[in-house]
Symmetry: C2
Subunit: 255 residues, 2 copies
DNA sequence: TGATGATAGATTGTTGACAATCTACGAATC
DNA sequence: GATTCGTAGATTGTCAACAATCTATCATCA
């Protein structure tokens, strides 16, 4: 049985404050267990596309590559499962989650609702430097769009929405938003061949959103962001229907 | 290294179909590992209040009570952490999450956004038997409210919103909704002494919501549900300000 | 007396081993 | 030749032991 101290006692104390300049570093080292690090690394590999959707994740292999035993790897799997990035089949293994078109449509709806709230809150709370940062990103997105540089555009797009999500000033909202966006990135990466022609670009939307937020028009910003997400869903759907250049080439040759 | 088969091969096959009448049972037994069962049991104990907020969860104790080793317990911890029910401090242990007033306010906003979407979707897709079920619940809530029977009212309220969330016909939305509601229940249970006078009751809201959904008025249902959640937040806040009967009694005696 | 440091016990973090299950492959059968 | 069966190897599920860390207690010292 527990013999340290009565339950709750520590939780009520509040956090110990480290004033030393290295306090943050110490806290970081103390905070991360191997399971956490494995979780982070796998999450990075999944969202970056190093691990493709459907890939089987072998416990022993991953443990070997990361030089840890299987325990922490299994713990990381359970966390990734809850965050929707992997799927587990008992006695078979865990797989990078594959998201169907219907699932993606559903997740897009959830994201639209969250982004609508982000717009309303951000319009009220965004700080000047955040507005400046958003405008800067929009500018670069515009350039990337003109250059048809998808590799540059996609991360800028993610960053733009991340800035707004942070500007909303709601931790719970931010967490939920990130989880949902992670799942959607999984889908985009899974379905979309990396083809500049197929990356839906919507610079106009982003400019309008930034203006509404900067103006403090909560209702407008909320509506614009909501519609932007729904439009994104539609654009992505259309992009998937029109096959990528390579596939189109194959189709022509087959005909 | 992996030597079974190439990755993705199984994931693309689709699920094997069991036509036997016991197929479902077999699948259930095959699906649950000990970690899953521990996770469920702990989640039940947390949501039901058997494990109070802030309680320290001792790995060895839990493993002993559930007759498993610590491995599955640790895996369950990681899943519960991602779903927001527990908080982990490295080398210190895991604790049932405590939610502050500010956090609760933030989570309520997220829930409002999700519930707004639930209202809009449910209005379009709800099936007649679901409408009937919702109406039946409202009826019983009405009775419980008149009788000031909080122990009956609270689960009915949860069930009511669960029915609507299911009626929305969006799995991703349902999952996110449940996670958020779980966190909020944690907060209510943590702060609210079980006192009938302090349970906010809002039968009128629920009747209006059911009517809007049954009528198929998506915009109205969405707006009503959104406002209902925001109002619930406000009601709960007020209930927390007016101290419960026992505390009021103590205050009088102290004066 | 109060603060500091050392020690023992308890708890968490990690690992390696064993059991249970699954997959692949080849032999046996029709 | 195709199908079924059985076996070996690989992989996952679980456990128990060890290492690292923390907490509480008591002795020491100013």
């Amino acid at each position: 049985m527990s013999k340290y101290r009565s339950p709750m006692s520590r939780a009520q104390e509040g956090k110990p404050v480290l004033t030393s300049p290295h306090g943050a570093a110490i806290e970081l080292l103390q905070q991360h267990s191997l399971a956490t690090l494995v979780q982070r690394e796998l999450e990075r590999q999944i969202v970056s596309g190093e691990l493709a959707s459907g890939t089987k994740l072998n416990e022993a292999d991953i443990a070997g590559e990361l030089r840890v035993s299987r325990g922490p790897v299994r713990e990381a799997f359970r966390a990734l499962e809850q965050s929707g990035l992997v799927r587990t089949e008992k006695n078979r293994g865990v797989f990078v989650r594959q998201i169907s078109l219907e699932e993606a449509n559903e997740i897009y709806e959830v994201r639209a609702a969250l982004d609508g709230l982000i717009g309303r809150l951000a319009a009220k709370r965004i700080r000047p430097e955040q507005v400046a940062r958003a405008r800067s990103i929009v500018k670069r997105m515009h350039a990337a769009g003109r250059a048809r540089d998808a590799d540059a555009y996609v991360p800028l797009n993610l960053e733009f929405h991340e800035v707004l999500a942070q500007a909303a000033g709601n931790r719970a909202l931010l967490n939920n938003y990130r989880r949902v966006v992670n799942e959607l990135n999984l889908y985009r990466r899974e379905t979309l061949t990396r083809n500049a022609d197929n990356i839906p670009i919507s610079t106009k939307d982003h400019e309008a959103i930034v203006n509404a937020v900067a103006k403090g028009d909560a209702a407008l910003a909320g509506r614009l962001l909501f519609e932007h997400v729904i439009n994104s869903r539609e654009r992505l759907r259309l992009a998937l229907q029109s096959p990528p250049a390579s596939a189109a080439k194959s189709a022509r040759e087959a005909a």
